[in-house]
């Protein structure tokens, strides 16, 4: 089997007619559709992979299988009514999507949420970050081949689902934040339940580390695989744990502070090449595990300092910002989620743009795919934590 890794010149992208096809001449090379229905692609994404046996020559992602036109719907629906749609942009970290949209519209209106609302937003968002990271690291372990850690992760996520259901009524698509604040106040006794959960979580993370993070097989599968250098990560526009795993200490909560995050003390975990090279898959995985610990710290501080007051600023029923534009960004579980809203003075947005972290992460996969094994491709996709709705919107 040759180890020639120069990519071929063209790939036939007319996939409606081809499922499997042989290239001219070389018998061992096939073009195979890896997706869109596949348990390991984290949603409906297709990777058109040109392989020479087990070694990939080139893998081109093909997206759009979940393109639901959310940006066009933003022009059809009034500002307050768009909040449920933001949940569906990234359903694993829906609180961030809610908050990003609320922050962007608040910037257009020139208002700010009251302090209690900002603290409740921070608590709900950090809980959501823990839940999202659990799915990410659980499915990553499953893609590597370990089936049990996913059930562990889902069990912990169920506890968070219960907490958030008590807070806002929904398990997955919360629709909790509002323009100007949050929808509901914290129920009585809820903060005690959260603290009990965090006590359990802090001891559970150590079990998780023993089970999978420092597991010899897991480390061997991921160390040195899919290395993204610092310059490449910035050039390709990666954000979030993908960027921090390559050693770049950039976090919206620190560098473009919003909400109540300036009141909290927490570290920004950065990839350091602990078991392999800086910027490999294991670094991105470990950054997420460490972020769970940091989120736990933030929630504890937020609950301790939770101020009294309103949970929503005074906003008119029909939200009609002046003509102009604003950008709202939040540090979502998958990186910076940027909302760019252009208003023309009416009660519906003129243009609503969402730039998500997973979309940028997909752009780098073709670059990383030359000469790797099929199993490594799966590890890379899992470590970049892509979810299809963020990619396609």
């Amino acid at each position: 089997m040759s180890t020639d890794t120069t990519p071929d010149t063209t790939i036939d992208m007319n996939l409606d007619r081809h499922i499997l096809r042989r290239t001219d001449g070389n018998d061992e090379e096939i073009v195979v559709n890896f997706g869109p229905q596949h348990p390991s692609t984290h949603g409906v994404i297709n990777f058109v992979t040109q392989t020479n046996g087990e070694v990939i020559r080139r893998s081109v992602p093909e997206i759009g299988y979940l393109h639901r036109g959310l940006e066009k719907i933003g022009e059809l629906v009034a500002y307050p009514g768009y909040m449920p749609f933001t949940d569906r942009i990234d359903y694993l970290a829906a609180m961030f999507a809610n908050e990003g949209y609320a922050v962007a519209v608040e910037r257009l209106l020139g208002i700010e949420a009251p302090p209690r609302a900002q603290y409740i937003r921070a608590i709900s968002c950090e809980l959501c970050r823990i839940a999202s990271h659990f799915i990410s690291i659980g499915t990553m372990a499953q893609d590597i081949g370990a089936a049990t850690p996913l059930t562990h992760a889902l069990r912990e996520r169920e506890a968070i689902n219960d907490l958030l259901e008590e807070l806002c009524g929904a398990r997955l698509t919360y629709n909790f934040h509002r323009i100007g604040g949050v929808a509901f106040d914290v129920p009585a006794g809820w903060t005690d339940k959260v603290l009990r959960f965090l006590d359990h979580l802090d001891s559970y993370i150590q079990e998780w580390d023993r089970l999978i993070t420092f597991n010899k097989i897991f480390v061997k599968r991921l160390a040195g695989v899919g290395v993204i250098s610092r310059e490449k990560a910035i050039d390709y526009g990666l954000v979030g744990p993908n960027l921090r795993g390559s050693g770049v200490k950039f976090d919206i909560r620190r560098d473009m502070p919003y909400g109540a995050y300036s009141d909290f003390e927490f570290n920004i975990p950065v990839g350091a090449g602990k078991v392999g090279t800086v910027g490999d898959c294991w670094d991105r995985f470990f950054v997420r595990v460490q972020e769970v610990v940091e989120s736990s710290k933030i929630i504890r501080q937020a609950i301790a300092k939770l101020p009294e007051g309103d949970i929503q600023a005074k906003v008119a029923r029909k939200v009609k910002p002046e003509a102009g534009e604003a950008v709202g960004q939040v540090e979502s579980a998958r990186g910076e989620m940027l909302y760019y809203i252009v208003s023309d003075g009416s009660e519906k947005a003129y243009r609503l743009r969402v730039r998500t972290g997973s979309f940028m992460a997909m752009g780098i996969i073709e670059e990383l795919s030359h000469g790797i094994m099929v199993a490594d491709l799966i590890a890379i996709i899992a470590s970049l934590d892509v979810v299809a709705p963020e990619v396609d919107r």
Binding site: I63, G64, H67, G237, F250, D255, A323, E325, L338
Partner: protein, 222 residues
Amino acid sequence: MTQEELCTQLGAQFGDAVGALSETKGDRFVTVKVEKIVEVCAYLKTTVGCEFDFCRDITAVDWPARKVIEVVYHLYSVTHRHGLVLKVEANREAPAVATVEGVWKAATWLEREIYDLFGVNFTGHSDLRRILLPDDWVGYPLRKDYQEAGGYHGIGNTRPEPLVQLAKATDEVRKAIAAEAAAAAAAAAAAAPAPAVVESAPAPAAAPAAPAPAAPSTERKP
């Protein structure tokens, strides 16, 4: 560097190809002439002191009233922690902008998405084809004058709504019964004016006892 300083430096370098910092409500931006966008971006990336190494977002806004499609660049510098927004106005009839793929690799997919949804041709792009919609999709959906084609490959885009039709049909039947009852009451009133008050009372009560309206046909198949 603040946005004013950056704008001044750009103005000094490029003259009138770069406009002034905008004064609109909300975030401020700099309008750049279409021909110069690649040079401006390369300058911003390489100049010491600016070093805009991070392309946060490239997007487009359709303004049919002004006959332009604006392409908006949100740039950021991770080294210096400052940001800038550039805008380019492309002619709406045949929108074409040079690609900045050579400056930031992030632009590759972002520009493909703008081509897919707005139809802006990025000259010099290595791989300009549709990214989110199927390859044989007709039209550019995010333009303001986009009309849906009525389905795709034989799959229609309407859906029968049997409950809505049932409600409408039931309303019609109810109106018909009420009209009959009113006509009967009017006839009784014309025949005997005095006991009309007593006689008309049971009439509407008897009407709903009439045989229940036949279930209207719906489009639902069993």
